[in-house]
Symmetry: C2
DNA sequence: AGGCGCTTGTGAAGGCGTGCACAAATCGCG
DNA sequence: CGCGATTTGTGCACGCCTTCACAAGCGCCT
């Protein structure tokens, strides 16, 4: 599910390999969403395994169909060798290049409640190449607090600092009521990507990308599936606890 | 994008309204994912506005196309009145019923690091009808700690407690290496829905639903769009800061 | 009572994504 | 040097989802 999308108006030459410059083959959104998963799987494998991997193997590690994986990778060029597989190092490089991970992007985090605190200290960001360079909150009592070596600043400094530090990505972890105002400030400061944890819809200009993570929505979706499963009572192979271990392939 | 899905094998009578019993019109996954969003919008509106709302109005509040909203709602029956709109209260009731929110579902949370702590205290869960009834961690030094009035238990009690408390949904906020083992225990204890925050693929039986939230992946997707935007330098309406305020409709 | 405006519900078309199945390509071995 | 085993890259068909456009239905006003 692509989240809030926008007109892209690309129109590049189709067949040119991504040399080292602009010019993007416009990738399907679904593919883009899976590339980070492939990348993670590659890093896990790269630690221990051989220097080449088949589409079947990588697909299993990433939890997808091998045909899908091949098609995804084919969109960014031919970086595999028939009869052999994909060069792990080269593939990592390519995916990181396409995702733009070779360039450090400055991230700021707004809202340091429970969730914001956790995000500020989340290992996953740093270990995947993102660095939070500034923290903001509206609560004066939080300003000045040190979190992971970063000082919390007042939100009124957000606009200025965002410009100074050339921040590209803003993370909103404020209450819903404050989120739109924060987004407006971020946009004015030139931020063009927003990750929104507040449970609300954000209005932004068309050139700004917004992705939303709503924890409660995820639970509600699971709740639906629970409800559905519960309404199918009389079924073979019901609810008896399966024997230990994981005996199942990872569905599509 | 539906996450890890599984064969459903439904086959219900198509035209029957959801009276008060089982029998589900199998909703499209995409629709299910949007229902919580509609529900939130309805709650926001219900506080202040009239007791009826048009598809156009609700669609705007939820950030979607009005045609899509009507089709989504039509899947769960005709709860609107032509020429008038949807009865807010009735619609809320219906969506909550379909999502199974009228029944409290017990949730447990495993892993009380940074993220787990935040999730344990997250208002959004309680306010949307979910109640975390148990906390678990493998770290003995965390066991016994009180968080939001709940005592952290050792993970070896997970299986027993999950059965006792009839827990339906498990939230995994452990490091990636521990996640699969935790999932196995949850599954053995009869948990049939898992929300996974660990950056890894989980293997579970086909009757268990898994949804995954990976914060780093969200950032990487945004990073791609940043990269793409940056590679389209020479464009009209470039990067000059827009004037204050939000001047844009919320794209599809 | 009749007509008019408004809004829902839906048929149909188009686009996107998935997965199969196979041709093309590469390696290794005899 | 040729052959077979292996694996990538992709043409094609199918199904899901989105979007448009419009008929059907409802309430209100005259």
């Amino acid at each position: 599910m692509s989240q809030q999308r926008h007109g892209v108006t690309p129109g590049n030459a189709p067949g040119d390999r991504a040399g080292a410059v602009p010019a993007f083959p416009d990738l399907p959104e679904a593919t883009i969403a899976r590339l980070p998963e492939y990348l993670r799987a590659l890093h896990n494998l790269g630690d221990a395994a051989a220097d080449t991997i088949s589409s079947e193997g990588l697909a299993a590690a990433a939890g997808v169909n091998s045909a899908k994986l091949r098609k995804d990778l084919s969109h960014l060029g031919s970086y595999g060798t028939r009869g052999v597989g994909y060069d792990v190092t080269l593939l990592i490089e390519q995916i990181e290049y396409v995702l733009g991970l070779d360039q450090r992007r400055a991230v700021c985090l707004v809202g340091l409640g429970n969730l914001g605190h956790a995000l500020a200290g989340y290992d996953g960001f740093a270990s995947r190449g993102f660095k939070i360079v500034a923290l903001f909150d509206a609560d004066a009592s939080k300003v000045g607090e040190l979190i992971q070596g970063l000082e919390v600043r007042h939100i009124e400094d957000l606009g200025r600092v965002a410009v100074e530090e050339n921040i590209a990505i803003g993370v909103i972890a404020t209450p819903a009521l404050a989120a739109q105002a924060v987004a407006d400030v971020l946009v004015d400061a030139g931020v063009t990507s927003i990750l929104n944890f507040a449970p609300c819809v954000l209005s932004v200009p068309a050139n700004v990308d917004v992705r939303k993570v709503d924890l409660a929505i995820e639970l509600q979706i699971l709740s639906f599936h629970e409800h559905r499963k519960a309404s199918l009572t009389a079924l073979p192979g019901g609810r008896s606890a399966a024997s230990a271990g994981n005996q199942e392939a990872v569905g599509s």
